[in-house]
């Protein structure tokens, strides 16, 4: 994490300086009202004790009431303006992040979808935005107000003003630094025990049954207790410094008051200060520390925001696709020669893939799970960088073509594609913006979701997704196939369309896809329906173990026949049991 991290992230918030200045002004005036209230009250009381004509006090009495009202109103306005600034900044950052990720390499995106990383991105944007309201603004207000108060105090009695300046620095700079340091120490020390605690708790809750039966639940609970104990020790290590910071804040007020008293009383005796002024310089410091009391929390916020900013900037700096050098148009065929595929940063999963895909041709890819079939499809669609070999669309190297050109010809529907939290129809329109309701219904019937559609409360307008109707694994998979089928591209790459389906329906769907008039590659674990494919690629151990028509493989490829027989036997057993 470099020092410029937060500054760069704040620049990305694109904050309107006028709005920020307004928030700063309102905030300073609001807390300034509090300080002024204390100062004028002190003056009022001290002067009143000298029993002047009441009229001499009228300005002060009005001012005291005005400051009393002004504080609340100004503070309300300041909070509105500052939150507006922060929210605008978050929108800006979120938009920039989206646009940047839209052109990032797909592996950045796909990595993001694992675990709760995505939720963290959302939270990180908010945390960076929070730095305005909870970090920068309080610091700015404290600085302005502190300077103003010190100057005013100096006008009355410079020693008291200087003492106040020193105490404000103690409470507003030293204490926050110590607090932030304490928070950092705790976080660093607690990192490992927090990870252990989370892992142990998750393990216990995920594998409750097996752990209890194996008699290990008590041990794991003891491990959880131990991790929490270490977490407590780490917190203790930072708590001392946090305590010092809190105590310093309180001590600073007292010192400012005491110095004003000790230096002011002799000054009154020497005639350098009037008694009324003495009351003002002694009592004003009591109200002058409200702004600095927020700063320890602000310092911790800045630190948190900086960590969040570093994670966001890492995403923004993720590698992007190189600019296209070939602006030409291109269409099928898609020709792969000796292509090697692998996830960036992971071992190569497949080598030596040759393929010629054109309209009307269907290819089935089979092989045990974990052999990189999805990675291969993404590579063929130009979404993952190749490990080797060449890939050309209509004779143009795919790497040099514009992304729009490639996606206009080749579309991949992966098994982990996203179902958006919107209607069924809008989910299908991801493939093509102008899909009509009739087209949508037809394609859903085609993939065997006709009954499902009929059972939906609002038909095609039914909301899907996390906070609405959820779809089962099988329904989801077929919805994704339907979406891929609606794509205008001439070549379709489809990943495991038939998973979670019973054998008969799975085979019917695979057969239908392989018969599509476009060029189709279908990854499937079912061998029985592959008679419909023009060619079958059998992957195993990172290579193409055999290729040819289904009949050729069944006749001559060692092992293929056995797999097919085993699949049939399993189907029959299942069918028998069902009866």
């Amino acid at each position: 994490m470099t020092r410029g991290t937060l500054r760069r992230a704040i620049r990305l918030l694109d904050i309107d300086p006028r709005r920020l200045a307004l928030a700063l002004l309102l905030g300073t005036l609001a807390l300034g009202c509090g300080v002024a209230l204390a100062a004028v009250s002190a003056w009022l009381i001290a002067r009143a004790s000298q029993m002047p004509p009441v009229l001499q006090l009228s300005v002060a009495t009005v001012a005291v009431r005005a400051f009393g009202i002004g504080r609340g109103v100004l503070r309300y306005l300041e909070r509105l303006v500052s939150h507006d600034v922060a929210l605008r900044g978050m929108t800006e950052l979120r938009t920039t992040l989206y646009q940047r990720l839209a052109v990032a390499r797909p592996d950045t995106l796909l990595r993001l979808r694992r675990g709760d990383l995505l939720a963290r991105v959302g939270a990180d944007v908010d945390t960076v935005g929070d730095v305005v309201v909870r970090g920068l603004l309080p610091a700015g207000v404290a600085t302005l107000l502190g300077a103003g108060t010190v100057l005013a105090m100096c006008a009355f009695w410079p020693p008291a003003g200087l003492a106040l300046a020193g105490c404000l620095l103690l409470a507003g700079v030293a204490a926050p630094l110590i607090a932030a340091r304490a928070a950092r120490t705790t976080e660093a020390l607690a990192l490992q025990s927090r990870a252990d605690m989370t892992a142990t708790a998750l393990g216990l809750l995920d594998d409750t049954g097996p752990l209890r039966v194996a008699g290990r639940a008590a041990d794991e609970l003891a491990a959880l207790r131990e991790a929490d104990r270490r977490l407590a020790t780490a917190t203790d290590a930072g708590a001392g410094a946090a305590a010092v910071a809190a105590g310093l804040g309180q001590l600073a007020i007292g010192i400012a008051v005491l110095v004003a008293l000790v230096t002011g009383v002799p000054a009154v005796g020497a005639g350098l200060l009037s008694p009324v002024e003495l009351a003002v310089i002694v009592l004003t410091p009591l109200a002058a520390f409200e702004a600095t009391s927020l700063l320890p929390a602000a310092a911790i916020q800045v630190q948190r925001s900086r960590a969040a900013a570093a994670r966001i900037l890492a995403l923004l700096d993720a590698p992007t696709d190189p600019d296209p050098t070939d602006r030409g148009t291109a269409g099928p065929p898609l020709v792969a020669a000796g292509v090697a595929a692998g996830w960036p940063g992971a071992p190569t999963v497949l080598e030596g893939l040759d393929l010629d895909l054109r309209a009307g041709r269907s290819v089935a890819v089979v092989g045990p799970s974990g052999t990189g079939k999805t990675t291969t499809l993404l590579t063929l669609a130009g979404l993952l960088p190749r490990r080797g070999g060449s890939l050309a669309l209509g004779g143009h190297d795919v790497d040099h073509l514009a992304r729009e050109t490639v996606v206009g010809a080749v579309v991949v529907g992966t098994e982990d594609a996203h179902v958006f939290g919107t209607t069924v129809l809008e989910n299908l329109r991801v493939a093509r913006g102008d899909v009509t309701e009739a087209e949508a219904e037809a394609v859903l019937v085609r993939v065997g979701l006709g009954d499902w559609l009929a059972g939906l409360p609002d038909g095609l307008d039914t909301l899907l997704g996390p906070d609405a109707r959820t779809v089962s694994g099988g329904e989801r998979r077929r919805l994704l196939v339907a979406r891929a089928l609606l794509s205008p591209a001439e070549l379709l790459l489809v990943d495991e369309p038939a998973e979670h389906l019973d054998p008969d329906r799975a085979d019917a769907l695979v057969t239908d896809l392989l018969g599509d008039p476009r060029g189709v590659v279908v990854v499937t674990h079912r061998l029985t329906p592959l008679g419909a494919a023009d060619e079958v690629l059998w992957l195993d151990g990172g290579r193409i173990r055999a290729r040819g028509t289904h009949e050729q493989l069944a006749a001559s490829a060692p092992g293929y026949r056995e797999l097919l027989d085993r699949e049939r036997a399993d189907d029959e057993t299942e069918a028998e049991r069902a009866r």
Binding site: I45, G72, A102, D206, D236, L258, L278, H418, R483
Partner: protein, 541 residues
């Protein structure tokens, strides 16, 4: 929200001491606040009216300095123990919640409130930290400093005390009033905020898909417009939410201002002396300070209280009492399920597990095969039907005495950290034989440390298939009469399937009873008895 839930004190030992300490420090702080104000008023008043010199005021100033130092120490002490109490309490509650959830069993964890326990235990309870560190001390001060200072003001100047007493109840009253008026608005606003936030994340999550379809550029504008809508919705909520803050500030500052003006006017009349006037002026804001802090910390604390409330709900969910009878010896006893049903999956399941036999459960996924295993293991009580061993209801059996006779290999093997040799157990010779059978020997050849290879939590360092072989080897070497295998071939290739077949045969040859969930034809064929599990939907069809 209940400011201090008595259940917190009941369930968390660390919280008890802390609340006692905070209360004691709160009373002490009240005394210090009053002492500081009186000393300050005395010094300043005499200096202003009589022109007292430092020599005269020296002792009072020294006392004032002492009070200042002690107040700083008390503040530090409070902060020091607040963090400790927060972490300890969170730890205690976490441990109890997890232990209780484990006792409630896997089915409870998978349904209804269960899944949220994971978030609650790992992150949710952390929200108690601001409650302990920021909110609770201020709450205590509101109960000590506010009334204490008010009493002192009353003793000094009853008119000022009257102003404060009139305003004081208005603070909570107006807060509640504004809260009531704005509740509907802000709940609506909150819901729309959350929806808009989720929509942006949804678009981010779907970016790979949008890219695959070449549609990634359009939604950029949508992210911006969603953000703008989010901002407007939020600001609408905040305009109202901040009102309560404004009312609070207005009431408190204005009443302090009124007190000041009142004192000033009475000083002019000579009805009051300056020392009293200064003391009241310094004390007046202290009456409201804790209340204002409570208001400021309220929202952060509310999350913590809500998390604690959920934890108490979990802890108060009754655990069915465990049986006490020792389980019969499974080498000779027969385990039976008769007409067992659990929430529609499975229904009406009959199963007889005689000693030394291999019984396979089959059926499509989602039909309740694993649930059936959980019933047979006494982890779950069936809604209908009966599970028994030699006529004794499983409910009456002490689960520990049953589980001591069982080795269970779940779909995803659960391995504790340790070396492979430690995990597998047995002596060197038996380990080698078993590894040869399960194919673990081939895995070990690739590991430089062989048997001494350390594995992390959950078998980290090995692939799922390799872990499955470790677990199978462990199962072979375990001495228990009953072995339960849940889809043992799920993560294995064709060669792995043969390994499982050999393992099952070896187990049977050793006279052990095997209950397995099977998909593969070959495995089903190896069983003595096959039981098809059915769901409610199938039975109706």
């Amino acid at each position: 929200m209940r400011p201090l839930d008595p259940r917190l004190l009941r369930h968390a030992r660390a919280a008890r001491g802390y609340v006692a300490l905070t209360a004691a420090l709160g009373v002490f702080t009240a005394a210090l606040v009053v002492a500081q104000a009186l000393l300050l008023a005395h010094t300043l008043g005499n200096a202003v009216t009589d022109g007292a010199t430092l020599a005269v005021l020296g002792p009072t100033i020294a006392w004032l300095a002492a009070v200042v130092v002690v107040r700083a120490l008390v503040t530090a002490l409070q902060e020091r123990f607040a963090h400790r109490a927060a972490t300890r309490t969170v730890g205690e509650l976490r441990e109890q919640v997890v232990a209780h959830a484990v006792a409630l069993g896997p089915r409870w964890l998978a349904t209804g409130e269960g899944p949220s326990v994971v978030t609650l235990a790992t992150r949710g309870l952390d929200a108690l930290e601001p409650y302990f560190v920021r909110y609770l001390p201020q709450l205590v001060l509101a109960a000590t400093v506010t009334p204490g200072v008010l009493l002192v003001v009353l003793g000094l100047d009853w008119i000022s005390a009257a102003i404060l007493v009139v305003v004081l109840p208005l603070v909570p009253l107006f807060m509640v009033l504004v809260g009531r008026l704005t509740q509907g608005r802000s709940e609506q606003g909150l819901a729309s905020m959350q929806r808009l936030g989720a929509q942006v994340l949804d678009l981010l999550a779907g970016l790979p898909t949008l890219r695959a379809h070449g549609r990634e550029h359009g939604p950029g504008a949508r992210v911006r417009s969603l953000g703008d809508a989010h901002r407007q919705a939020t600001m609408g909520t905040l305009r109202i939410a901040f009102l309560s803050g404004m009312v609070l500030e207005l009431l408190t500052t204005l009443s302090v201002a009124l007190v000041a003006v009142g004192i000033g006017l009475r000083l002019v009349e000579g009805d009051l002396d300056l020392v009293t006037g200064i003391a009241v002026l310094v004390l007046a804001p202290e009456v409201f300070l804790p209340l204002r802090q409570v208001g400021i910390q309220f929202h952060a604390a509310a999350d913590g209280v809500a998390a604690a409330g959920r934890a108490f709900e979990v802890l108060e969910t009754p655990v069915p009492p465990a049986g006490t009878r020792t389980a019969p010896d499974l080498r000779t006893a027969t385990l039976r399920l008769d007409g067992v049903g659990v929430a529609g999956t499975p229904v009406d399941l009959d199963l007889v597990l005689r000693p030394g036999t291999v019984v396979a459960l089959t059926g499509p996924s989602g039909v309740g095969k694993t649930t059936a295993l959980e019933v047979a293991l006494g982890l779950l009580r069936p809604d209908t039907g009966r599970a028994s061993i030699d006529g004794i209801d499983l409910e009456d059996v002490d689960p520990a005495s049953l589980w001591a006779q069982v080795t269970w290999l779940p779909q995803r093997p659960v391995l504790e950290p340790g070396t492979i040799a430690q995990l597998v157990g047995g002596d060197e010779a038996s380990r080698a034989t078993a590894a040869g059978l399960t194919g673990l020997d081939a895995v070990l050849v690739d590991l430089p440390l062989g048997w001494e290879t350390p594995l992390g939590r959950g078998g980290e360092g090995l692939s799922l298939g390799q872990r499955q072989r470790v677990a199978l080897t462990r199962t072979l070497l375990s001495p228990t009469p009953l072995v339960v295998l849940d889809e043992p071939t799920a993560h294995l290739d064709a060669a792995g399937e043969q390994v499982v077949l050999d393992t099952v045969r070896t187990l049977r040859d050793a006279g052990r009873t095997v209950l397995l969930v099977a998909h593969r034809h070959s495995l089903v064929a190896a069983a003595d008895d096959v039981v098809r599990v059915r769901s409610a939907a199938e039975v109706l069809a």
